[in-house]
């Protein structure tokens, strides 16, 4: 995992600089990277300076009177106790100041609500990204392109952040501000965001964009941006959303339009995934590779790189909601993949996944998706987050176990992972928990079993 990050970090070239800049020690609101965020910054500075000037007046008068009008200096107290003139003045002046502040603020809000260009014409949106909040990860769906993926705190942050992990968090790159799959968007494009949530209220916030917007279950909120500068921009969930509210960062990779087109082509499988190493400058390509291999099974990514179009396509789609139909297809192709991918001898003769492969994949999934609540040793934090060690669900009937993981448990933080993760991930993780933490059920849950209950 570390190696992958270093690789993508180095290859990201120019992106690295802005990544470092955002990790700098900040005192003030960032100016941001869109026209809008610049306006917000200017408004912030204006009202800040107005407050500073008023403050100098008020505190100056206060210090003067404390210094000059003290009994120890032998002064006699004055007798005045009202002055209509003065009172009218200090009522009227603040009103005028407030009007002066309200004007740009009104303009700014109208710009956020219904953006207009310099000529006053309504701005049209070039693309739409749907953002869904989950406890505790984000999902990004590219509505125009028909694909999407989950974005989760990276494993090294996730391990270092555990209490008593023994890892010095200062050694972790972008501690708590790094994800496996960043949102990738192009520069100089009007991008509409549609925000919603699948469980509790979250809030999507990248300070450099100049706004935050709540992701609310049952609602679709709207926001937009147009980023001028390519770079990596980081943010966090801003609305308390439960135990791991502090651990659902947001990372946005903004690519130049050509890099973005390339990245998109790869996501769509329109290009052969393997790119010549000479394309280092177009960081998008390289980032994509690591992103893709993070998001799906490593074995599968290998497959994707060596197989032609259709397979790449189906691989991408398995990460979206519609896993059901694709899977049988994919499994069929997997046996083909065996032939082209060297060292993939784990496949069983029955076409299912081997125990070793399920366990390896399961551990990976467990460490990104489950560890937050159930802990690395499965002990959980009962009763809110049950222990898997002495769980009857885990040691008992496998069908019940599949049901719990696939459909979640309503009224608790246990999410319906069948809708969020590819079936093979769900299968692998169920296999993993049923054969870890002291359990030795020997059950081998196959992706097909998950599909079956999702039907």
């Amino acid at each position: 995992m570390m190696k992958k990050q270093t690789k993508s970090g180095l290859l990201a070239g120019g992106l690295l600089m802005s990544g470092m800049a955002s990790a700098e020690y900040g005192l003030n609101l960032p100016k941001g990277v869109s026209d809008y965020s610049g306006q917000v910054y200017d408004m912030h500075m204006m009202v800040l300076w107005i407050c500073v000037v008023i403050g100098i007046g008020v505190f100056g008068a206060m210090f003067y009177t404390i210094f000059a009008h003290r009994k120890s200096k032998g002064v006699e107290p004055a007798q005045f106790s009202h002055s209509t003139t003065v009172e009218i003045i200090w009522t009227a002046i603040p009103v005028l100041i407030l009007i002066a502040i309200a004007l740009p603020a009104t303009k700014g809000m109208m710009q956020m609500d219904s953006p207009r260009d310099a000529q006053g014409e309504p701005v049209t949106m070039d693309m739409t990204v749907k953002i869904t909040g989950y406890q505790w990860k984000w999902r990004y769906d590219y509505l125009d392109e028909g694909f999407g993926f989950l974005s989760t705190l990276t494993a090294d942050s996730n391990i270092a952040r555990q209490k008593g992990s023994g890892v010095d968090v200062n050694t972790v790159d972008n501690y708590l501000l790094d994800v496996d799959n960043p949102l990738v968007i192009p520069t100089n494009t009007n991008i509409r965001f549609l925000l919603t949530s699948d469980d509790v209220i979250h809030s999507w916030w990248v300070p450099e964009f100049g706004w935050k917007r709540d992701a609310i279950p049952g609602f679709i909120n709207e926001a937009w941006t147009n980023i001028k500068e390519p770079g990596t921009y980081r943010g966090q969930c801003a609305e308390l959303c439960g135990k791991d509210h502090g651990y659902m960062p947001i990372v946005v990779e903004v690519l130049s339009q050509s890099d973005y087109a390339q990245w998109l082509a790869q996501q769509n499988g329109d290009a052969v995934a393997e790119q010549p190493a000479t394309q280092n400058e177009s960081s998008g390509t390289e980032l994509t590779e690591s992103a893709q291999s993070d998001e799906s099974d490593t074995d599968m990514a290998d497959v994707g790189e060596t197989l032609p179009t259709e397979v790449g396509e189906s691989l991408t789609e398995t990460t979206s909601d519609e896993t059901d139909e694709q899977m049988s297809d994919q499994q069929a192709q997997e046996s083909q993949a065996q032939e082209v991918t060297a060292g993939n001898e784990n496949e069983q003769s029955d076409g299912g996944w081997s125990m070793d492969k399920l366990m390896a994949r399961g551990e990976e999934v467990y460490n990104t998706q489950c560890l937050a609540c159930h802990k690395i040793d499965g002990s959980g934090m009962p009763p809110a987050f049950p222990s898997l060690v002495d769980s009857e669900v885990v040691s008992g009937d496998v069908a019940k176990n599949i049901d719990v993981v696939t459909h979640g448990v309503s009224g608790t933080a246990m999410a319906p992972f069948g809708r969020m993760l590819p079936a093979e991930d769900v299968a692998a993780v169920i296999t993993y928990i049923r054969n870890s933490f002291g359990h030795e059920t020997g059950d081998r849950v196959q992706p097909a079993d998950i599909e079956a209950v999702l039907q």
């Binding site: 020690y25 009008h69 009994k71 200090w90 502040i101 209220i201 917007r213 909120n221 135990k243």
Partner: protein, 538 residues
């Protein structure tokens, strides 16, 4: 019942104090004893809520998790807020009202003494119910004091306890408020008109109306949470056709006036103290009354400025922005009036005055960040970050809490008959005033630099300011333990206080002996208006 006992023992006790712990405290109907119980209760809750804040600052001292799990951290932030708001600040104000309002208007007691006893004794039970959740499976409420669904409904068994505790606190507040209004309207000495009343009485009258108007709204909101959780309703459940944002509207319709419930009595307190130590009448008394009423009115029509990020229509956002900005005007008037009261006075700087001046200065800083956040587009950056944590702690800690501490030093000699130790009081002031700024000022920077609130761990670029903030926090916490020591020392003994206590201080409370006898003003007769603390009404 207790009445008979006091009659029997009349000869031994000039104060008519009931004998025995049960009669004196549990069954008391005396406004001073109930006031004392409120104040002691508030101090205990302040220390408890403060220790939760210490846990928070300890965990945030450096990045990485060292002491508590994130889930427990969320319980700490939630319970810290509930304890401080409903357990410390509000009961402290009610305690001050109990002690001072009857004495300030020449009344023998509160209008409804038994109700007074009941409204106090609800509180310890409410907080036992609330605190008991710490020992339950699933732990204490961890969804924030704002109790937003759907998150709060994931709380397991604690939801019911949270809701019932809030109900009890609400009933206590409503009854207390009814009592205060009834007292002020009906029990003033015969020649005391409304515009003769001290500012503290005025601010409490207005606060009491706020309480009566908004506490039932909170009760309604939490009751809907209860039925959503246990009886299958869908008020706030989108899947059942409900609306999670509706809860926020209802909550903040309570919540914003609640903010002023916690600050208006502070305005009253410093409006008593500053004239005393400036040896000059309060400047612009009438405009102070109008400004307080204006702030109270505005507090009902600005609630959604807490919710700019939920995606309201443009018109709604603009309206709430403009209405919010208006609050700056009457609040500014108040600050200017306090300054003008000090202007060309003959000031001395005893501990209550020091805390009051610090109140005016630091509350103004909280006011500035308030104006900044009124601007909706910029608020979308500040919202839910440490910037707002800094803002509301500036108005609540060096705001409300400093005012309460100032009131305690100002009236302790009247309550106990002993002067507090001025040297220790000044140490307490400087210790608190410096540490509170080390604690909260860096949080402005943290918020602007992008640190969200309510997180147990943070990215390493936030480490330095968090460390400063924690150091300030520990120092401030320790200073308040020192305050408890000063109070206990004063109760136990010290220089005898005169009835006047402070040179030339206005106010009927200074016409009765120190400590104030168990019963004061028990004859219905005119008082000397020149001794009242009101300002010049032309």
């Amino acid at each position: 019942m207790s009445h008979d006992i006091t009659h029997d023992e009349l000869s031994q006790d000039h104060d008519h104090k009931p004998k025995g712990f049960v009669n004196r405290w549990l069954l008391t109907t005396n406004h001073k004893d109930i006031g004392t119980m409120y104040l002691v209760f508030a101090l205990a809750m302040f220390i408890l809520g403060g220790s939760m804040a210490m846990v928070i600052r300890l965990e945030l001292f450096q990045p990485g998790l060292q002491f508590v799990e994130p889930f427990f951290f969320n319980q700490m932030t939630t319970m810290h807020a509930l304890f401080m708001i409903f357990g410390a600040v509000m009961p402290a104000f009610v305690g001050l009202a109990n002690w001072m309002v009857p004495m300030m208007i020449g009344a023998p007691d509160m209008a409804l003494p038994r109700l007074n006893n009941f409204s106090f004794w609800l509180l310890p039970f409410a907080f036992v119910v609330l605190a008991s959740t710490f020992f339950m499976p699933g732990g204490a409420p961890a969804g924030g004091w704002t109790m937003y669904p759907p998150l709060v409904l994931q709380g397991g068994q604690n939801v019911a306890f949270l809701v019932f505790a809030v109900h009890l606190m609400g009933i206590s507040s409503i009854l207390g408020a009814i009592n205060i209004i009834a007292t002020i309207v009906n029990m003033r000495a015969p020649n005391v008109g409304y515009l003769n009343m001290p500012m503290f009485v005025w601010t409490w009258l207005i606060t009491a109306f706020l309480l009566i108007l908004v506490m039932p709204v909170l009760a309604g909101a939490v009751t809907m949470l209860l039925t959503d959780r246990y009886f299958g309703t869908s008020f706030f459940n989108a899947a059942g056709g409900g609306d999670p944002v509706m809860f926020q509207h209802i909550f903040w319709f309570f919540g914003h006036p609640e903010v002023y419930i916690m600050i208006l009595p502070s305005f009253g307190i410093v409006s008593e103290i500053i004239p005393t130590f400036a040896r000059k009448r309060l400047f612009g008394y009438v405009s102070m009354v109008y400004a307080t009423a204006a702030i109270a009115f505005l507090s009902f029509i600005v609630w959604a400025h807490h919710m700019f990020s939920v995606g309201m229509p443009l018109g709604g956002q603009l309206y709430f922005m403009y209405a919010t900005m208006l609050i700056a005007v009457p609040t500014g008037v108040k600050v200017f009036n306090w300054l003008a009261t000090m202007w060309r006075g003959a000031m001395t700087f005893e501990t209550p005055m020091l805390f009051s001046i610090a109140f005016v200065a630091l509350f103004t800083i909280g006011g500035f960040s308030g104006v900044m956040m009124a601007l909706a587009p910029v608020d979308l950056q500040y919202h839910d970050t440490y910037f707002i944590v800094a803002h509301f702690h500036y108005v609540l800690v060096p705001g409300s809490v400093f005012a309460i501490i100032a009131a305690a030093y100002y009236w302790l000699p009247k309550w106990t008959g002993h002067m507090y130790d001025e040297r220790l009081g000044k140490i307490h002031f400087w210790w608190s005033a410096i540490s509170v700024n080390v604690l909260f000022f860096p949080q402005h920077f943290l918020g602007l630099a992008g640190m969200p609130r309510r997180i147990p761990d943070y990215s390493t670029q936030f480490a330095e300011f968090n460390m400063w903030s924690s150091i300030g926090g520990f120092a401030f916490g320790l200073a308040q333990v020192f305050f408890v020591y000063i109070v206990i020392k004063t109760v136990r003994g010290g220089q005898k206080a005169t009835s006047q206590v402070w040179e030339d201080a206005k106010g009927l409370e200074w016409t009765v002996p120190s400590p104030a006898p168990h019963h004061t003003f028990d004859e219905y007769k005119p008082v000397d208006l020149n001794r009242m603390a009101h300002g010049d009404t032309h």
